[in-house]
């Protein structure tokens, strides 16, 4: 039986994080210094570097600061940035979480801001130890998956193994989210055939078409040099491998960053901005996508890597599933699951079982490799989205 940390808004978390949030790059150093002594006690830094306002960033920060894994929030403002800290603080307060703001220009600069911040964080960490623990089951759990540093093993081992684990967790009531429409280019018709309704099928195809047009305008696909070195020749080939993460269950919904799945089952997260191409690449690296999955409520992330990513994330634990047995041998300290053993004759189901059981263990509190190593990466950049259409969620 799983146990979760019960928040005042009724959501249940699997970690008890105190988030220290910089609201512009100028406040990041202070936020980082505040967290430094409490890194091993659940304090983590997240933030937004830009000085110009952005609705997407505002929504992302509101969802992240009220994520079920987060118990308390300290906002760190320089004082003159455009981010609406008042709205963010109000949203966090309304969720029942302790929240306060430090404005560096008013607090007397770096040193006094750090001192004030540390004493507030220390109090919160102490108070969060008393957070009520309540039973939690699979239907309370949101699991996200991403692949990064993909190679030609990803689509044969790690991704299909995660897909089978997704099928099991989704059938047990969990909400399972896969993403990166730019890495589903070429799979759109096969994917649409799994949609729960014809209207959703059309929306799924449109989301991939949007990604293809967006990347065509930029002149690059979602394809890094290391993908080619790892044996992938085209975006379609990479896509088919990535698509295998989604398993075989029906797709019940299409969401955008910050949308929280209303039911269990399988969802596609559309991460490519709407409208004309602005602000550059949809996701400048894997952590940008991980942050978006977490903003959709993901308690835990399954990260499939072939080339060997070492990242973790702030807020939600990242389980690294290594698709390539050679990479696993080199980076075993960073990897939670050796899916590459499928190439040596092990069955997909054995690895899927291991992934499924590890999600339960990690949800119960067992640290992942990236958590043990102190990884808590976070990045948030400018984007713009239209709201999802009426056909996108289960009726």
């Amino acid at each position: 039986m799983l146990e979760g940390y019960l928040r005042r808004d009724g959501r249940k978390g699997i970690r008890n994080v105190t988030a220290v949030v910089y609201l512009v790059e100028c406040a990041r150093h202070v936020a980082t210094e505040i967290v430094m002594p409490y890194r091993d006690q659940g304090a983590q830094v997240i933030g937004f570097p830009g000085c110009y306002p952005n609705d997407y960033a505002q929504t992302m920060m509101e969802r992240l600061c009220t994520h079920p894994n987060v118990g308390a929030v300290l906002l760190v403002s320089l004082g003159c940035e455009s981010f609406n800290r008042f709205r963010l603080e109000k949203a966090v307060a309304e969720s029942g979480r302790p929240v306060t703001s430090i404005v560096i220009q008013r607090a007397g600069g770096t040193r006094s801001s750090v001192d004030q911040g540390r004493s507030w964080v220390a109090e919160q960490i102490k108070a969060l130890r008393a957070t009520p623990r309540v039973p939690m089951d699979m239907s309370d759990l949101v699991v996200g998956t991403i692949c990064g540093g993909s190679d030609a093993t990803s689509g044969i081992t790690g991704n299909p193994a995660v897909g089978r684990a997704f099928d099991r967790m989704g059938a047990a009531g969990a909400a399972c989210i896969f993403e990166e429409t730019g890495e589903l280019i070429g799979c759109e018709q096969i994917m649409a055939a799994r949609a729960a309704t014809p209207e959703l099928a059309r929306a799924l195809v449109q989301s991939v078409n949007k990604a293809a047009e967006y990347y065509a305008t930029l002149g690059y696909g979602s394809f890094a040099a290391g993908n080619a070195e790892g044996g992938l020749s085209t975006i379609e080939e990479k896509s088919m491998g990535a698509y295998a993460k989604s398993g075989a269950a029906p797709i019940v919904g299409l969401i955008k960053p910050g949308d929280i799945p209303p039911t269990g089952g399988l969802y596609l997260l559309d991460v490519v901005p709407d409208g004309e191409v602005r602000f550059g690449f949809p996701n400048i690296n894997d952590n940008a996508e991980i942050a978006e999955l977490i903003a959709c409520g993901a308690h835990v992330i399954l990260f499939v890597t072939g080339r060997g990513s070492v990242v973790g994330s702030a807020i939600s634990p990242v389980i690294k599933v290594c698709a390539n047995p050679d990479t696993y041998a080199r980076l075993a300290d960073d990897m939670d699951v050796n899916a590459g053993r499928i190439l040596q004759g092990d069955g997909l189901d054995a690895v899927a079982d291991e992934i499924h059981d590890l999600v339960i263990d990690v949800a119960a509190g067992t640290p992942t490799k990236s958590e043990e190593l102190g990884h808590a990466e976070f990045i948030l950049t400018y984007k713009s989205f239209d709201p999802i259409g009426p056909a996108c969620l289960p009726g």
């Binding site: 030609a152 093993t153 044969i156 293809a212 690059y220 696909g221 394809f223 040099a225 044996g231 390539n324």
Partner: protein, 105 residues
């Protein structure tokens, strides 16, 4: 219980015209997961693709039972199939010439 594979090349779908290297593959006849043999023309590393049959320029490359691009030149059975002889039907592939090889000495 792990049963070591005896084949060196994996056929993912019956309709595929490429095979996947399950580890370093040397030139010469190599066993395929469907019980056949393919005469490999260039040594390749784990995950690289080898042509199962002759593929003419413009023909779709099929892996996982679906098209993953088109041949940019004629490809012979046993040839290494990668960025030098196939292209995306969507967006061009970006690779570094220093690292995109996939062959080994």
């Amino acid at each position: 219980m792990t049963t070591p594979n005896t084949h060196k090349l994996l056929l993912l779908s019956d309709t595929d015209n490429v095979l996947v290297a399950l580890g370093p593959v040397e030139t010469g006849p190599n066993p395929v997961s469907d019980g056949t043999f393919v005469d490999v023309k260039q040594p390749v590393t784990l995950g690289q693709k080898i042509a199962r049959v002759a593929i003419v320029r413009g023909e779709k490359i099929r892996k996982y039972g679906v098209p993953i691009g088109s041949a940019s030149v004629d490809i012979s059975p046993g040839d290494h199939v990668h960025v030098h002889n196939i292209q995306s039907d969507y967006t061009p592939t970006h690779s570094l010439t220093e690292t995109a090889g996939g062959t080994h000495a």
